[in-house]
Amino acid sequence: MRRALWLVATRALESFVVLFVLASLVFFALRIVPGDPALLILGDQASASELATLRAKLHFDEPLVRQYARFLSDLAHLDLGDSLRRPGVPALARVLVAVGPTAQLASLAVLFGAIFGVLAAVVASGPWLGDRRPWVERAILFVAAVPLLAFAPLATYVLAARYHVLPLPGDPDAGFLGLLFASGLLAIPLGAHVARIGHAALLQVARSPFLNVARAKGATEVAVWFRHALPASLGPIVTVIATQLGALLGGAVVLERLFERTGLGTLILEAYSTRDLPVLEGAVLAAGALFVFTQTVATAIHAGLDPRVRASQ
């Protein structure tokens, strides 16, 4: 148990390092690239006095080191200043409003992806399909190879726009069904990856003696695979979900844009196109925080589930 706690503690510390590096990258990307950031924000038509005011407001007129120190201190106080495009509204407030819908979308997608993926992996590994099992494997490989960007717009066209089977998730009164549709789309690539890795992991334990012991004691095949084989293969499954989280967040941005649904992605894109720097910095960092947080949780779950991880790390 102490080793597991140690592992999770190192990961948590690492999360801070990751967020720090990300914050620094966001900060320096804008200030090191040649060109006047104030001009970039206000556009070519801005007058000299407007530019000077903005430079003073965002402290572009100070030495870079001072700016960086100020940025880090603001970050530590969780105060990134006001949104440039909506004066008076703190940037962080806008970010916090947007985090909720994205977190909902992403967590439902993880849930669905895990369920679909595990079911497909067990079906592809168990004895039920006999000679037809390779077809399931091929189907999994094929689905894993189809990018979300290609099938999500097509599925939306067919299911929502043309035949109205499902509501458009961006529609304000689409409600829960819309959320289910969006997270289902997002879950498909994740589910395919989970299925691929889960299938490989299940095949490794498929010939283990403990499964035969379970069979000898009269367990049904369903119980053998779900109660005995699956727990032994959960490690790789949790790991693959953790490594797909980044792609999932990227996919969430694409889906939010596709459906014009509110969320972190929409906020980041809006802040990008209007050059609302405090909001952009806050939103990117919030997405990064969401990512490292879930990664740490995945590590903790993995350590909690699998005694081999606790022992070997």
Partner: protein, 257 residues
């Protein structure tokens, strides 16, 4: 090459795009009377917004995206192989750090990273996109190369090279890296496929190259005019799918599969 036929789809896409691009040398020419027209003899893929010929746009976009993907994948390949081999030989803290950084970068939302970094330029061009993709593209190569170096570093010929006085750099470049290339190259196809999709995704959300010659921009048009002109959406989606999956297939043509 065990299965060279797996390179065929990629070659077909490149040749077909090159031919179409040669027939339509200027993508993005507008002819408003043809706006959103369905596929026809003159315009085999139909037209998009303001009558842009989709065949012209898609072929130019394909060629540029494929060139970008190959360039970035090769850069990541060279840099990643070298970093991985070096960290494997140095061992200790450095090796563990490289390993962990690679793991993190592979899982990281690179798409968000790209958005954050691209905000520094007014209108991104393909060079900017390539630079952003290269920031993370080296990680899987370094990971593979590190794993393979761990196998190689205790081999007798490496010890022998050290014993006859070969320097560290010499061992990495002349003895380790040549033995890694075959194994690490397997990753080239999947990295290139991921870049094709990312480039299209950035174009789709409005961060693509500002000349609008991007599959993502076609997809964006298609989504906007979903009900009026569904063929635009279909063309964009199939282009992304065909290119990324032919890169994935090409990746499996190498001997170590």
């Amino acid at each position: 090459m065990k299965k060279p036929q797996r390179l065929i789809p990629l070659l077909v896409i490149v040749v077909a795009s090159a031919l179409a691009a040669w027939r339509h040398p200027t993508p993005g020419r507008l002819s408003p009377e043809l706006a959103w027209c369905m596929p026809q003899m003159e315009h085999p893929l139909g037209c998009g917004e303001a009558g842009m010929d989709l065949a012209a746009i898609v072929s130019h976009a394909e060629l540029r995206a494929i060139a970008l993907a190959i360039a970035v994948a090769l850069t990541g390949f060279l840099f990643g192989t070298f970093i991985g081999a070096m960290s494997g030989l140095i061992r200790g803290m450095f090796e563990r750090t490289v390993e962990r950084v690679c793991d993190l970068l592979q899982a990281f939302p690179t798409f968000l990273l790209a958005l954050a970094v691209l905000s520094a330029v007014r209108a991104p061009n393909r060079f900017h996109l390539g630079a952003v993709f290269a920031l993370t593209a080296w990680a899987p190569f370094a990971r593979l190369s590190l794993v393979q170096t761990r196998v190689l570093r205790d081999a007798a010929f490496i010890e022998a090279a050290g014993a006859i006085g070969a320097r560290f750099g010499g061992i990495v470049v002349r003895h380790i890296v040549p033995n890694l290339l075959g194994v690490v190259a397997v990753q080239l196809g999947s990295t290139a496929a991921a870049i094709i999709v990312s480039e299209a995704a950035l174009g789709f959300v409005g961060l693509g190259p500002h000349d609008g010659v991007s599959i993502g921009a076609v997809l964006d048009q298609g989504v906007a005019a979903m009900l009026r002109a569904p063929h635009v959406l279909l063309v964009g989606a199939s282009a992304v799918f065909a290119t990324s999956s032919s890169f994935l297939l090409a990746a499996r043509s190498s001997p170590s599969e």
